[in-house]
């Protein structure tokens, strides 16, 4: 194997990526624009700003001496994640909800304080309690609001009950530490790990197009006539696309950092993340080769590449978190799922890269990606000589 040939072909491939406008856009510019669009929409640009939600409250509580509803409203306001707007009637509140002015409307029932009083009187005897239901209307157009607001209110309700219970014996203190922790994480932070995986997936299309184009314009034949061996050629392609994946990861990380994603992890964890993305790029080269095998032309390769791009994208990146449980199970059959999972553990869950779950993800990603690459090489070589 001659290094001179590998480096010459790698350099050629990198020049192509930079000089072909369509490739440059798809590989580098599109992921950056995409990350920026998501970051600007769901995160704080330039810093880790607090995400807040506007919640309308209609207080129908016939308050007694406990004035439980006021305690609940104060508790919710103190979370700093919710902007509380008190409405005098539920019709006005729900009108504002339908217009997107508030993301949720909470209606405190007439027997709320009475319910709390009954709980306090017999905290261990549920049969004595007056049950009250707090109605919560959510903005169904906001995925984040429907997922984020209910647990916050649930915790506030528990806090109100706990506070009241403790007040008999000691001055209470509202314990909302867990809520404060939630507020430091924007929706963008939650999807950022998937962004690293996302960018690399489009290599599938690039590899497929590159191989079919070179076949169409006779360049593959020309390289086969040279003394370049198939091992040298494939090595050069893998090295090229790993370099591109690394550049993508650096660009995506730079953009997410600029948009406020600042995971509290060490340098070694960052390096591990980049290594993971590099290993993942092998599967994309493999899928690209499989696509090139079944594609007769470069334009067909563009379309057919989505056979592999879409499952990797929808089942294994940040999009996967919003899918049904069955789709999430299906995600376990694509390498991107394990990459995103490992990056999420690393960036958000605070796991060390030596933790068993991350090492398991690494093992699955390594084995599956090498296997996919091998399958791609074998299939392509069988149909078209390299």
């Amino acid at each position: 194997m001659k290094l001179q040939r590998i480096s010459a072909l790698t350099e050629k491939e990198l020049k192509k990526t930079i000089r072909e406008p369509a490739v440059l856009f798809m590989i580098f510019i599109f992921p950056i624009i995409f990350v920026f669009a998501f970051g600007a929409s769901f995160g704080g640009v330039g810093s880790s700003q607090t995400v807040t939600y506007n919640v309308g409250v209609v207080n129908m509580d016939g308050a007694n001496s406990l004035n439980a509803s006021q305690i609940l409203i104060t508790t919710l306001s103190n979370t700093k994640i919710l902007n509380i707007h008190v409405y005098s009637n539920d019709q006005t509140a729900r009108n504002d909800l339908s217009q997107g002015i508030v993301q949720a409307v909470m209606i405190i029932p007439t027997d709320f304080s009475q319910s709390l009083a009954s709980y306090q009187a017999a905290p261990n005897d549920p049969s004595e309690w007056t049950n009250a239901t707090v109605s919560l209307y959510l903005d169904q157009g906001s995925l984040v609001a429907t997922q984020a607001i209910p647990p916050i209110i649930q915790q506030a309700l528990m806090s109100v009950a706990g506070h009241s219970q403790q007040s008999i014996q000691s001055p209470f203190s509202v314990q909302t530490a867990s809520l404060v922790e939630v507020e430091t994480r924007s929706a963008f932070d939650l999807i950022a790990p998937g962004m690293f995986t996302f960018a690399s997936i489009f290599l599938i299309m690039m590899v497929a197009q590159s191989f079919t184009q070179d076949r169409e314009n006779g360049m593959m034949k020309r390289i086969r006539i040279s003394p370049t061996t198939s091992t040298e050629f494939i090595t050069s392609q893998v090295v090229s696309y790993m370099c591109i994946a690394l550049i993508q990861a650096v660009l995506v990380f730079g953009m997410t950092y600029a948009l406020g994603f600042r995971p509290d992890i060490g340098l070694s964890s960052y390096l591990f993340a980049f290594v993971l993305v590099l290993i993942f790029s092998l599967s994309n080269v493999g899928f690209g080769l499989i696509t090139a095998t079944i594609s007769k032309s470069a334009s067909a390769a563009t379309g057919l590449s989505f056979l592999f791009v879409m499952p990797q994208l929808f089942l294994g990146t940040f999009v996967g978190a919003s899918l049904s449980s069955s789709a999430q199970v299906a995600g376990r059959f694509v390498p991107s799922f394990y990459v995103t999972n490992a990056l999420t553990s690393l960036f958000l869950r605070g796991a060390a890269f030596t933790s068993p779950s991350i090492l398991l993800d690494l093992a699955v990603v390594s084995v599956s990606c090498v296997a996919i690459l091998a399958v791609g090489i074998v299939l392509y070589s069988k149909r078209y000589k390299i």
Binding site: R5, K12, N217, G218, R222, S226, P227, T228
Partner: protein, 248 residues
């Protein structure tokens, strides 16, 4: 005949429903400029592809510089230069970068590569545009650059598959001069063409193939005299009953 650089013995190639080559045998001497003539689909490109190790023959054998093209393909690839029929260059590289790439694929020394690249670009009138991306080149410039890629590593044997097809007269004559020059440097050249005037102008010997069979072999003068015709075009019509540009 002196030492044979290219030796083809009983070469046949069948594709699914078509015989591309039918028991072809011929020898080309060192330093000879040999023309392989025939209409489209006659088997010229298949012959070149077999000699390059790209296609396996159904039967028969072929040697280039004494190396078997099937068993010692790697060695053969180091000795040959091939200009394919299609204009095969990378559009996103400049002319000089295309040459540098293929020089590196042949393991050339950087200094030698630079000198050879400059010489070839100058000879084929591409020096002034060497740093431009080839996507901006005219059709004739692309064809000329495609030819230089076959020559960058100074090969002993050149296979030129329709090198002047779709070229303007000026470019064609520049390429003819260049091919003559290569022959004068003791290179063995096998040229496929269906331009009769090109063959008469350049070739020492000519082999005419039709439907995969060698139907005539000799110098242009010998063939014309033997066939009692005015030129090769007439000879071909006499031998096959068809003109050179008809599809076989």
């Amino acid at each position: 005949m002196t030492e044979s650089t290219v030796k083809i013995q009983g070469l046949s190639k069948n594709f699914e429903d078509k015989t591309a080559l039918d028991n072809l045998s011929l020898e080309v001497a060192k330093g000879e400029l040999f023309g392989l003539l025939g209409p489209n689909g006659a088997g010229k490109t298949t012959t070149i592809n077999i000699l390059c190790g790209l296609v396996k023959p159904t039967s028969g054998s072929a040697q280039v510089c004494g190396y078997d093209v099937q068993k010692e393909t790697q060695k053969v690839k180091e000795l040959i230069g091939v200009c394919p029929q299609e204009t095969a260059i990378y559009p996103y590289l400049s002319g000089a970068e295309n040459l540098e790439l293929f020089g590196n694929l042949h393991g050339m020394n950087r200094k030698v590569l630079k000198e050879r690249s400059d010489m070839l670009l100058t000879k084929l009138g591409l020096k002034a545009d060497a740093k431009r991306l080839t996507s901006k080149y005219s059709g004739g410039m692309k064809r000329r650059l495609s030819l230089t890629l076959a020559l960058i590593h100074n090969p002993q044997v050149l296979f030129l598959d329709e090198p002047t097809v779709a070229m303007d007269p000026q470019s064609r004559h520049a390429v003819w001069d260049f091919i003559r020059d290569e022959k004068n440097h003791d290179k063995t050249v096998i040229l496929t063409t269906h331009y009769m005037e090109e063959a008469e102008e350049l070739c020492d010997r000519i082999g005419i193939i039709d439907q995969g069979k060698l139907i005539a072999l000799g110098t242009p003068k010998e063939l014309i005299a033997k066939g009692q015709v005015k030129n090769l075009e007439e000879l071909f019509i006499k031998l096959t009953g068809r003109t050179m540009r008809e599809e076989s």
